[in-house]
C-alpha cells in the first residue's frame, strides 16, 4: 500500500523540481564563464513573471497556435505517469510503454511544429523543418537504446528494463548500461535543444532550432512551454538515472538520494558541456546524433551475445 502512495513521487517531484535543472545548468555555465550568475531559482521567477503578463497573439495564427502549449504540457504530464522513480515502478506500466513515451513526445513535437507553421513566419518554418529532420533521427536512437535494454532484461516496460534484473553476465550488462546511458544523454542534448545541437541562449533567429519555433509565444503560453521543456529534460535524465540505479520495487531512501544526485549531476554535466564546446555547424548535427546511434547499436550487438 505504501509503495502505491510513493509512486506519486514520480509525478510530484518533477512538477516541483524540474525548473531547478535549468537553474543548475545556468549556475554551472556562470561558474565556467567566471560570472556570479543568476540564482538557481531564476527559472521559477521567470515562469511566475510570465504568467502575470498579458497574452499577445499574432493575427495570422489560428486556434492551433493557442492549444499547442497546453497539448504539449498534457503530453509530458502523461509521460510522467509511465516513468518509474528511483526504482519505484511507475503508476502505470505495461508492455511497450516506452513506445507511448516516444510518441507522447512525438505528439507534443507535432503540435509545436504545426503551431510554428501556423504563424506563417519563414524563420519558424525553417526551425520546424530542422526540428523534424533531427528528431526523426533521435527517435530511432531512442528506440535502439531501449532495444538493447530489452534484449538483456527480456522486459518490455520502462519500469522493468533495469539492467540489474538481467540474468546475463556482468561483463555484458555493464557496457550495455553505460553505452545506453551515454547514447540517451546525447540525444537528450538534442531533444532538449542544448549545445552542441542547439543554443538555448541565442537570440539569432537564423541559427535557432527549437527556440525559433516558439518566438511568437508570450506570457502564460511561454511559461507553459518553458515549464514543459524542463519536465521533458527531467524525464530524459530520469530515464538515465533509472538505467544506472537498481530497481528496488520498494522505497529506499538511499536510492532516492542517488536518483537526485544523478539527475542533478547530469544537469551539471550539461552545463559543463555548454561551457567547454561550441555549437556544431547545422550540417554536422545529424552526424552527432548518428554518433549516439552507433553507441546504442554497439549496445544492441553486445546484448545479443
Amino acid at each position: 500500500m505504501s509503495v502505491q502512495i510513493f509512486k506519486l513521487f514520480s509525478i510530484f517531484f518533477p512538477l516541483i523540481l524540474s525548473p531547478l535543472l535549468f537553474g543548475v545548468i545556468n549556475k554551472t555555465k556562470a561558474f565556467f564563464a567566471g560570472r556570479k550568475g543568476m540564482s538557481v531559482l531564476q527559472p521559477y521567477y521567470d515562469i511566475f513573471k510570465l504568467i502575470q503578463k498579458e497574452n499577445i497573439y499574432s493575427q495570422t495564427t489560428s486556434s492551433i497556435f493557442k492549444i499547442s502549449p497546453v497539448i504539449g504540457l498534457i503530453c509530458v504530464y502523461m509521460a510522467l505517469f509511465i516513468m518509474p522513480f528511483a526504482g519505484i515502478p511507475a503508476i502505470f506500466s505495461f508492455k511497450g510503454d516506452f513506445i507511448l513515451l516516444a510518441y507522447l513526445f512525438g505528439l507534443s513535437r507535432f503540435f509545436t511544429v504545426v503551431a510554428a507553421l501556423d504563424t506563417g513566419s519563414s524563420f519558424e518554418g525553417m526551425g520546424a523543418s530542422r526540428e523534424v529532420t533531427f528528431s526523426a533521427i533521435t527517435e530511432s536512437v531512442f528506440f535502439l537504446s531501449l532495444i538493447a535494454l530489452i534484449l538483456i532484461t527480456k522486459e518490455y516496460s520502462l519500469s522493468g528494463i533495469s539492467p540489474y534484473s538481467s540474468e546475463k553476465h556482468f561483463s555484458i550488462i555493464l557496457p550495455v548500461m553505460l553505452l545506453v546511458s551515454v547514447a540517451i544523454f546525447l540525444i537528450s542534448l538534442a531533444e532538449n535543444s542544448r549545445i552542441p545541437v542547439d543554443d538555448p541562449n541565442t537570440h539569432l533567429e537564423l541559427t535557432m532550432i527549437h527556440e525559433v519555433m516558439i518566438l511568437d509565444y508570450s506570457s502564460a503560453d511561454l511559461a507553459v512551454i518553458q515549464y514543459l521543456s524542463s519536465i521533458k529534460m527531467w524525464i530524459f535524465f530520469s530515464i538515465i538515472a533509472n538505467i544506472l540505479l537498481p530497481h528496488t520495487f520498494y522505497v529506499s531512501l538511499t536510492n532516492i538520494f542517488y536518483f537526485f544526485i544523478i539527475i542533478f549531476s547530469l544537469a551539471v554535466l550539461t552545463g559543463i558541456i555548454e561551457s567547454s564546446i561550441a555549437r556544431l555547424r547545422m550540417l554536422k548535427v545529424p552526424q552527432f546524433i548518428i554518433g549516439a546511434a552507433c553507441l546504442s547499436l554497439i549496445a544492441v550487438i553486445l546484448a545479443f551475445k
Partner: protein, 509 residues
C-alpha cells in the same frame, strides 16, 4: 597610358584649389577612372557635388595600392553618364548613391536601386521617386529573386531579435543553402552629410561623432584632419600621439568585443563573457582619458582636448597590461578549441581576387591577404616614428582569418600604445584659432578599426563647407558580406555577419 595623365596626383598634403582639379569630359573621366582602378587602385570616394548651374560634378578620389599619392579627377554631368560598374564592380554602391542623391542616371548600371530611400538633393531631378511623394519607406523596392519550386525566400529584419541596428536581409535559399543574399539598408539615414554643409559650426563636431557611434575617434580624427589641412595648421606631436593612442584604444575595444561576439555566436561561453568584460575595461581606458567611453570630446580640430600626462600614462600602461593578460588567455582558449575552429574555418570564405574586385577595405580585406592599411600607406608623424609594418597574417578570407587578423591587430595595437605611453611628446595640446580657406577641396584618410575612413570637404567662397562627403569602411564592405554568404548555410549567417561587423549607421549616414 593615356588614362594616367588625365588624373591629378596629390602627394604630401591632400588639399587642392577646387579649380585645379582636372575637369575632363565624361568619356575621358570614365577611361581614366577605369584604367586606374583596374591598375590596382581602390576607391576612396566617388561622389557628386552640386554646381551653381544645377549640373553635378562627379569627383573620383582613387587610392593606388602601396603608393604614397592619391589621384583625383572630376567631370560635369547633367542627366546621365555611362556607368563604370560594369568594368569596376566595386563602384556599384557609389553609383547607386549618386543616382539617388542627384537624380543622375548611370546608364547600363546592372543593379540600379535606391540605397538610403530619400528624395533627390537636386531640384527637378528625381530618379527613383516622384517628387510629390510625401513618404518614402526604406526597403520598398524590388529584390533579386531566384525562381524554382524548392527555392524559398527568407526575409530578416529590419527588426531583429537582438539589440542591433536595423537592416533588411533577403535570402534566396535552397533548403539550408543560401544562393543569394541581398542587403537593404537605409533605416538609419539621418542626412548627416547634408546637415554638415554650411558648417563647420557648433553642431558639426557632434554630427561627426555620431556618424558611426562605435568609430567616434576614427571619424572625428578624419574630420579634424580635414579642418587642419583646409586651414593650414599642423598639430603638435603631443596631440598626434594622443590621437593615435585613442584610435588604437578604439580598435582594441572593438576588436575585443567582436572576438567575444564571434565566440557567443558559436555558443562558446567562456571567451564570450571574458571578452565582453574586457571590452568594457578597454572602453573605460578611453573614459579614463576623456570621460567618455566612446571617445567623444577627445579629438578636436587643431589638436586634442585632453592630455595624457605622466601619471595617466603610467596608469594606462598598467591597466592595459592586466587587460592584455586576461585577453590573451581568453582568445587562446577560443583559438585552441577544436569545436570553435570547426565553425570558423571555411565559413564565409572570400578569395583575394573577389575581395579586390569588390574593393573591400580594412580587417575584411586584410583577412583575404590584401595588404591595405592607411596607417602604413599614409602614416601620421607619430605613426612614421612607430610604424605598423606587419603584413596581414591570413590569406584564407574565412571567418577564422577575420578573427585571427583581429587578434593579431590587437597585439600590434597593444605594443604600439605601450611604446607611445613610455615617451613624452611636447607641443601645444590644441590650436584653437583656425579659419578655412575658401574654394578648396580637402580629403583625409584614417584607418579606423573597421578600415579606411575617407572624408572629403569642399569649401565655398566664404570658407564654409559647400559639400561634405563621408565614406565609412562599411560602405565598401557590405557587398563583401553578401557575396561571402553564397553557398553557405543560412544558419552561419550571424557568424559571417559578426565576422565583418559592419556599421549600419555608418553606411546610412
Amino acid at each position: 597610358m593615356k588614362g594616367e595623365k588625365l588624373l591629378h596626383k596629390l602627394t604630401d598634403k591632400f588639399d587642392i584649389n577646387f579649380g585645379d582639379i582636372p575637369k575632363r569630359d565624361n568619356d575621358d573621366f570614365r577611361e581614366a577612372v577605369v584604367a586606374s582602378l583596374k591598375n590596382k587602385s581602390r576607391i576612396g570616394a566617388f561622389f557628386g557635388h552640386l554646381l551653381a548651374n544645377n549640373n553635378v560634378d562627379i569627383i573620383a578620389i582613387l587610392i593606388p595600392e602601396n603608393k604614397n599619392h592619391i589621384e583625383i579627377i572630376r567631370t560635369e554631368i547633367c542627366n546621365s553618364y555611362h556607368a563604370i560598374t560594369h568594368d569596376i564592380p566595386s563602384a556599384h554602391l557609389f553609383e547607386r548613391e549618386i543616382a539617388e542623391q542627384w537624380g543622375i542616371f548611370p546608364e547600363a548600371h546592372p543593379w540600379l536601386k535606391p540605397i538610403r530611400f530619400h528624395k533627390s538633393y537636386r531640384d527637378s531631378h528625381n530618379f527613383f521617386y516622384d517628387p510629390d511623394k510625401t513618404e518614402i519607406l526604406p526597403s520598398f523596392t524590388d529584390f533579386f529573386r531566384v525562381e524554382g519550386e524548392e527555392i524559398h525566400e527568407v526575409a530578416v529584419g529590419p527588426v531583429h531579435a537582438g539589440i542591433i541596428e536595423p537592416g533588411h536581409f533577403r535570402f534566396q535559399c535552397y533548403g539550408e543553402n543560401v544562393f543569394h543574399l541581398e542587403i537593404s539598408l537605409g533605416y538609419q539615414h539621418r542626412g548627416i552629410e547634408k546637415a554638415l554643409a554650411g558648417g563647420p559650426d557648433k553642431r558639426s563636431m557632434h554630427l561627426i561623432e555620431t556618424a558611426a557611434g562605435d568609430t567616434t575617434i576614427g571619424h572625428t580624427t578624419t574630420y579634424c584632419k580635414i579642418i587642419e589641412s583646409l586651414s593650414n595648421i599642423n598639430i603638435s606631436p603631443k596631440a598626434d600621439a594622443v590621437r593615435c593612442i585613442a584610435l588604437e584604444l578604439e580598435r582594441l575595444a572593438n576588436h575585443t568585443g567582436d572576438l567575444g561576439a564571434l565566440a557567443a555566436d558559436v555558443g562558446f561561453l567562456p571567451t564570450a563573457s571574458y571578452c565582453g568584460r574586457l571590452r568594457g575595461d578597454l572602453l573605460n581606458l578611453t573614459a579614463y582619458i576623456c570621460g567618455n567611453r566612446f571617445g567623444r570630446g577627445i579629438v578636436r580640430p587643431g589638436g586634442v582636448a585632453f592630455d595624457i600626462d605622466e601619471l595617466t600614462a603610467l596608469n594606462l600602461s598598467n591597466r592595459l597590461l592586466t587587460i592584455f593578460k586576461d585577453l590573451k588567455n581568453a582568445i587562446n582558449l577560443m583559438l585552441d578549441t577544436a569545436s570553435v575552429m570547426a565553425r570558423f574555418e571555411e565559413t564565409g570564405k572570400l578569395s583575394k581576387n573577389m575581395a579586390e574586385t569588390l574593393g573591400l577595405v580594412g580587417v575584411a580585406a586584410r583577412a583575404c591577404g590584401i595588404d591595405t592599411d592607411i596607417r602604413k600607406q599614409f602614416p601620421t608623424k607619430i605613426q612614421t616614428k612607430f610604424p605598423f609594418n606587419n603584413p596581414p597574417v591570413c590569406k584564407t578570407g574565412d571567418v577564422y582569418a577575420r578573427a585571427y587578423q583581429r587578434w593579431f591587430e590587437i597585439q600590434e595595437s597593444m605594443e604600439f600604445i605601450s611604446k607611445l605611453l613610455k615617451e613624452q611628446f611636447d607641443g601645444k595640446l590644441i590650436e584653437e584659432n583656425w579659419e578655412l580657406q575658401p574654394n578648396r577641396l580637402a580629403l583625409s584618410l584614417v584607418e579606423g578599426w573597421r578600415g579606411q575612413i575617407c572624408h572629403v570637404a569642399i569649401t565655398d567662397n566664404n570658407g564654409k563647407f559647400a559639400c561634405y562627403k563621408i565614406v565609412d569602411p562599411s560602405f565598401h564592405n557590405w557587398t563583401g558580406l553578401a557575396i561571402a554568404l553564397r553557398n553557405q548555410q543560412i544558419s552561419d549567417f550571424p557568424l559571417c555577419n559578426k565576422s565583418f561587423n559592419l556599421s549600419y549607421c555608418g553606411h546610412d549616414l
